[in-house]
Amino acid sequence: MTQHAPADKQIRVLQLYPRDMNIYGDYGNALVLMRRIQWHGFTPVMLSYNPGDEFPEAPDILIGGGGQDSGQDRIQQDLLGLGDRLRSLAEEHTPMLMVCGLYQLFGHFFETRDGSRISGIGVLDVETYGTDNRLIGNVVSESADFGRIIGYENHSGQTYLGPTATALAEVVVGEGNNQRDSHEGARFRNVLGSYLHGALLPKNPAIADFLIGTAVERKFGEGLGPLKAPQSSPETLQRLTELAREAASARPR
């Protein structure tokens, strides 16, 4: 880290289950949050929670990723034990981003192909059904809150929104939540669920800055200023991001 902000301006980012639920580059979301918190003039603190750990105090942002089926099995019971705590953090408008496997388990349940149900914690009003069909490929979607969201999906569970959930985005290219409707992801208060890897945040900084801005507003009662990223390439970070988004949206599925 090259610059230092006062220690009292900490933003604490909690990674849920990084050991078991962190494949397909979801670590990139954590890294992007850390850097951008710093470039917004705050001090990032990275926390992690794995099964059996003590739950860290006062997290400002929570993130979680996808995993193998085996990883999902290892964390499922533990997650149910955190249900009350996570639901109340969500009610209190804590910003969260849950991708893929943890998006599914933040819903009501995951029903496997043989009909058995794995319970989720019901923060999001969604339910997921296992299928034999893996939905794989580049995704371009449009969100009222965040503009165009670009990523890569890779999942065989298909998710449906309940009456109180709103979609994060509508798919333009790709499948998103399922093969039937055009929804991608879900939102409840400041909790975002999504199937998109890529990682998601590097090419979608609007979501990163929403998570950071919400945390800063809740904790310090102030808005986010402009991002002061050091320029370390021929193009600015903003320009690199635009070019990466253009290239990704032009690629085949």
């Binding site: 990084p18 494949i23 397909y24 890569y152 890529g198 590097p202 021929p234 193009e235 991001t241 290239a247």
Partner: protein
């Protein structure tokens, strides 16, 4: 098991004709003659392979199978065996059939003692149902080409199928937990391991360890028949059986040297007591990597290394195997089908080791994904140019007096090799 009859001469004649025609038309493609023969005689492959006195050996895993297969072939040839082998291709069985058509006699006889085949995980089940290998070597299972397989655990299941269909013996990577676990479901087959001494494991982080999954402790690891105990610059120390041997090598990079340990363990299993130790070590010293995998060229009087990267573990190994000091670095990332379309994997590689010197050039279809990745790791970038040939020209021109290294995905490597042909002699790649 029913004894397979040799294929009929008519089938062979038609296949050979199809192969000759494909060649005349300038195609290197192997699918057409293979397809013709499979239509005429679905058991062709199994029948030809069944006549080999020492049977069939397969090598599979995510990383390193091409180089390891090549090393196994060279080690066995050094022992005086006649070896039939395949080149990796888009359609596995048809590719093997096509190579066979070039080598068998009109009566269906293949002049070889043993076949050593590089087997892609995707083709594993289809192949081992048709042909039971006598021996198999399973290298690793890592995140790769998720587009095609979905999950690491299902790739591991494909490799398990190979092991279960292997009749004599299986060689497993002790350090890869998913590979080592395959031993649990095996019956009467002999099982042996290759492995790493504890102090070397830091050079080979697995995908799981990246995210803090604790490795098994020493006591629970099975004994390794061949253990890599020391790494040098084009040098390795191996504990083979009980004996510790340090030898110079033609292959470089920690990764290829570990593959040499795998190849040694397999050859020791196949040959048993009859192995000629001095000849084995001599072949080991001379064995070279497969084209494109850690290839070294000289361009305008300066060395240029091409390092193929196709998944996070391979990229991490590439970065940790070669020092960045005093070297101009270029990274070329494509996302064509053969590279894998998903760019997520770049976020599972740490680029801190490039922070000091920075990266001279970023190129390829996904130039800007790579540039973002480096920027978030605070690695500086001197130039970006998506067009590969142009990027290569600029990179070479900007660093005339420095050794150079290019990390590239598969299709980027093919394009760069072709353009490098305008600067220096580059061996044909097929």
């Amino acid at each position: 098991m029913t004894r397979l009859r040799l294929p009929r001469p008519a089938t062979i004649a038609v296949g050979k004709t199809a192969r000759a025609l494909t060649r005349v038309r300038g195609g290197s493609g192997s699918a057409f003659p293979g397809l013709v023969v499979e239509r005429l005689d679905p058991s062709f492959l199994a029948a030809v392979l069944a006549q080999l006195p020492r049977g069939v050996v397969v090598v599979s895993g995510t990383n390193g199978k091409t180089t390891t297969t090549k090393m196994v072939v060279e080690l066995l040839r050094g022992q005086g065996l006649r070896v039939f082998t395949n080149r990796s291709g888009s359609n596995f069985t048809r590719g093997v059939v096509a190579s066979m058509l070039g080598e068998i006699s009109p009566t269906g006889k293949l002049e070889a003692d043993i076949a050593v085949l590089e087997l892609d995980e995707a083709h594993a089940v289809h192949f081992v149902r048709a042909v039971n290998p006598q021996y198999s070597l399973l290298l690793n299972v890592m995140r790769d080409q998720l587009d095609r397989f979905g999950e690491i655990d299902s790739t591991a299941a494909l490799l398990r199928t190979i092991a279960e269909h292997t009749s004599e013996g299986v060689v497993l990577n002790r350090e890869d937990s998913r590979i080592a676990a395959i031993a649990d479901s095996l019956g009467s087959q002999k099982v042996r391991y290759f492995g790493l001494a504890a102090e070397l494991r830091a050079h080979f982080p697995s995908d799981d360890e990246l995210h803090g999954v604790a490795a098994k402790d020493e006591a629970t690891r099975p004994e390794a028949d061949v253990l890599l105990t020391g790494l040098g610059n084009q040098q390795g120390t191996f504990r083979i059986g009980g004996e510790e041997i340090t030898t110079d090598l033609t292959v470089n990079g920690a990764y290829n040297i570990y593959n040499a340990a795998a190849a040694l363990a397999l050859v020791r299993m196949v040959l048993g007591e009859t192995v000629d130790r001095d000849a084995l070590l001599d072949s080991l010293r001379r064995a070279s990597p497969a084209f494109g995998r850690g290839e070294s060229l000289t361009v305008r009087g300066q060395p240029l290394d091409l390092v193929l990267v196709k998944n996070p573990s391979g990229f991490r190994l590439g970065l940790s195997s070669f020092s960045a000091e005093g070297v101009a670095t270029m990274i070329a990332i494509n996302d064509n089908y053969a590279d894998g379309r998903d760019m997520s994997w770049l976020w599972d590689v740490g680029f801190d080791s490039l922070a000091e010197g920075g990266v001279a050039m970023v190129s390829g279809v996904r130039t800007y994904d790579m540039a973002l990745r480096l920027t978030y790791d605070e690695v500086s970038i001197a130039a970006v140019e998506p067009e590969l040939a142009k990027a290569l020209d600029e990179f070479l021109a900007a660093h005339p007096d420095t050794p150079k290294r290019i990390f590239c995905t598969y299709t980027a490597m093919l394009a760069l090799r072709q353009h490098l042909g305008t600067y220096t002699e580059v061996e044909a790649f097929n």
